[in-house]
């Protein structure tokens, strides 16, 4: 029996929706599961149903009251480190990208090539040396040391921003130069307002990058009162195994919510950033 064109179309659409729904379930299931687990009574990983029989906020309360956990302190440490290193790192990245995009000077090509090459080494290959440097500067086990490491490494990721600046027409700046505006005024008055989407993208990715960085923070920070969220959550899962799973779930949910919301709200900037990075290779 040959199906009519319409019913063929119908079956195709039905299959499409079916697939879309399956993908949607797979996409959101882990998030749903961790949220449900965080409200579950008890502390084990195992549960009969996805939606627990009894709901409780005990685990959230425990995060803020248990002195052994120090969760609010981790949160505060992480927030502080990420915010400062994002501001510093993003400024450095934007400045670097602007200089490399707008000016033609001797050594420019060399700088671009070295940036590409440096990006090809595994990031933490330099950790031991950084550790020695931080010790000699008396900055190991300090938040400032970590901030310095994050911020100083940021300009190496300036390619995306450079690609963006390349697309802003030069005519604007040339007109301003004729009007007698200085480089600094052009940069602050014209270029920065135009690059808001790019700045948002870079700031957002660097904020989340540092907010949830485990490797460098666990390497630089030692004392318990300096711990970050990433370190605390990782240790909860890897060391105490699954015995405190529900507390971990609550901690993870609280940590993830602000970032996830930020991402969803600023989605269009992310998409713009991702695609511009793509076309520039």
């Amino acid at each position: 029996m040959k199906l009519s064109h319409n019913s063929q179309q119908f079956i195709k659409l039905l299959l499409t929706y079916l697939l879309l729904i399956i993908i949607a379930v797979v996409s959101i299931y882990p998030a749903l599961w961790i949220v449900m687990s965080s409200f579950k009574v008890g502390d084990s990983l195992f549960s009969e149903h996805l939606i627990p029989d009894q709901l409780t906020t005990d685990h959230y309360v425990r995060l803020f009251t248990d002195d052994n956990l120090n969760y609010p302190l981790w949160y505060w440490n992480t927030f502080k480190i990420s915010l400062i290193s994002t501001v510093l790192g993003t400024s450095l990245t934007i400045i670097t990208a602007y200089a490399l995009s707008r000016f033609r000077f001797r050594g420019r090509q060399n700088i671009l090539t070295s940036m590409l090459i440096l990006g090809m080494f595994p990031g933490f290959m330099s950790m031991i040396a950084i550790y020695v440097l931080l010790i000699s500067a008396n900055l190991n086990d300090s938040h400032w040391g970590l901030i310095l490491v994050y911020a100083a490494g940021a300009p190496l990721g300036a390619f995306v921003a450079k690609g963006f600046f390349d697309t802003i027409p030069k005519a604007l700046e040339e007109a301003a130069t004729i009007d007698g505006a200085s480089h600094t005024r052009i940069f602050i008055g014209i270029v920065l307002p135009l690059s808001r989407p790019m700045i948002t993208y870079i700031a957002l990715t660097s904020f989340t990058g540092t907010f949830f960085d485990y490797i460098f923070s666990s390497f630089v920070l030692r004392s318990t009162d300096k711990k970050t969220l990433a370190m605390g959550l990782y240790e909860m899962v890897s060391q105490r195994s699954s015995t405190e799973f529900t507390t971990f779930a609550a901690g993870a949910v609280l940590a993830a919510i602000p970032i996830t919301l930020l991402f969803m709200f600023l989605q269009r900037f992310l998409v713009a950033g991702l695609t511009s990075g793509a076309t520039k290779g």
Partner: protein
């Protein structure tokens, strides 16, 4: 006409600032003279020591002499890193010296031509206008030198030393050992078996991870973009969620989801009568799990990118195909796929290179486990990067770890350069407007 330029240049070559003095740029000359005197004092004090330190890596370890530790001892790795810092500074000094000669020569030229020189204020203004990019780049470049280049050169040099847990300064000295670490990896020895095994898995992983996320993303993008599908924005937003959740959190959550004993995945499978699968504990399943989880993380990005490409494909291509009576599949084969592949190929190769270095997924999900019986400090799912991490932090095999790092660099650099060449030739050929 007097030959100011040559005289000034020679004077400045003899001692920094003399040429400027001769050119009657007093402020600049004083600045240069002071800088040079300072540099000479500093370098005469530290440079010989730095070169000696790098050359010998120290001669006296901190060992007991007559029941006491000596006050003076050599710390090999500190000697190396401080020596490198001094050498880099010396390099900058040499560059500034050359610049000083050039400046004296050019100012001399100005005197010959115009009969006058710039005042100090004019010079400053000049720097701010014409050297603006350098002014901008000063801080970033200093940061990159201290926190990226210096540490990297240090680690590259470590690959040629015997720095390991039997040679920890200051109680032991570290020595140059040439290519021994690389030979240990490549030739038959305890490490080479592990190295080849991990290298193979790294490539399998990188190919599988790249291909699955890419085609997964393409499938999702095509599904959303199909004619007749409604709420396109809704679906797209929903599918972006895995990208929005911080990777660290989702990976730690996945670790529990796939828990072999209590995890919900096995619980659901048991409902269908499937026995417990040890997702993270069995070598084969652990490999499957990391690839699947990576797909979950990576598909949204590919989807976003491919959705972007799909909107750029000209409609009339499809209309022409419709006129010719092409089926949906033929349209996909002849129009959509080539267009997507063409515009995302450089990105695909960069993703492949990135996956070779994909530390997070492996480290946070399996930590390289399950353990591999005949490997040296490595598990079944360890990539070269995670092995490098373990060799460094758990085993303190610094020299060996550095040589692994250099090998990773060579692999990635090869792909990147090839990619760059290829995409450049593509652009030059102007295949598609």
């Amino acid at each position: 006409m007097q030959n100011y330029a040559r005289t000034a240049g020679i004077l400045s070559a003899v001692f920094m600032g003399l040429g400027q003095l001769y050119n009657r740029q007093i402020e600049k000359a004083l600045l240069f003279l002071c800088y040079n005197v300072f540099a000479w004092i500093m370098f005469s004090k530290y440079l010989p020591n730095a070169i000696w330190g790098i050359w010998t890596l120290g001669e006296h370890a901190r060992t007991m002499v007559k029941g006491k530790f000596p006050k003076e001892y050599d710390h090999s790795t500190n000697l190396l890193i401080i020596g490198l810092a001094v050498l880099i500074l010396f390099g900058f000094y040499l560059i500034s010296y050359i610049y000083n000669i050039k400046d004296a020569y050019e100012t001399g030229r100005e005197r010959e031509v115009y009969g006058s020189v710039k005042t100090f204020g004019q010079t400053i203004k000049n720097i701010l206008t014409y050297s603006f990019p350098f002014v901008l780049l000063t801080v970033p470049i200093i940061g990159v030198f201290i926190f990226t280049i210096l540490p990297l050169v240090f680690m590259i040099l470590l690959a040629f030393t015997n720095y390991d847990r039997n040679h920890i300064p200051p109680s032991k000295l570290v020595d140059w050992v040439g290519m021994d670490n690389f030979m240990n990896l490549v030739q038959l020895s305890t490490y080479s078996h592990t190295f080849y095994k991990i290298l193979l898995w790294t490539f399998i992983w990188a190919i599988a991870a790249t291909v699955t996320t890419y085609f997964g993303g393409m499938l999702v993008a095509l599904l959303i973009q199909q004619n007749g599908v409604r709420f396109k924005t809704f679906w797209r937003t929903l599918f972006i969620i895995p990208y929005a959740i911080p990777q660290l959190i989702s990976l730690l959550v996945m670790r529990n989801l796939f828990n072999g004993n209590f995890g919900p995945i096995n619980q659901y499978l048991a409902f269908f009568g499937i026995q417990n699968i040890d997702w993270l504990g069995d070598a084969f399943w652990a490999k499957m799990t990391v690839i699947f989880v990576n797909m979950w993380l990576g598909v949204p990005v590919s989807m976003v990118l491919i959705l972007g490409v799909l909107t750029t494909i000209p409609r009339d291509l499809y209309e022409a195909a419709d006129v010719d009576g092409a089926s949906d599949f033929q349209k996909f084969r002849a129009i959509t796929l080539p267009m997507i592949l063409f515009s995302t190929m450089p990105l695909l190769i960069m993703q492949f290179a990135g996956n070779i270095n994909n530390f997070n997924v492996i480290f946070l999900l399996t930590n390289g486990n399950p353990p591999c019986a005949d490997c040296q400090y490595a598990g079944e799912t360890d990539l070269l990067v995670t092995w490098l991490y373990k060799l460094t932090l758990d085993r303190q095999e610094y020299g060996l770890a550095s040589s692994v790092g250099i090998i990773i660099f060579i692999i990635i650099a090869t792909f990147s350069i090839w990619n760059y060449r290829r995409s450049k030739s593509f652009i030059e050929e102007d295949m598609i407007q």
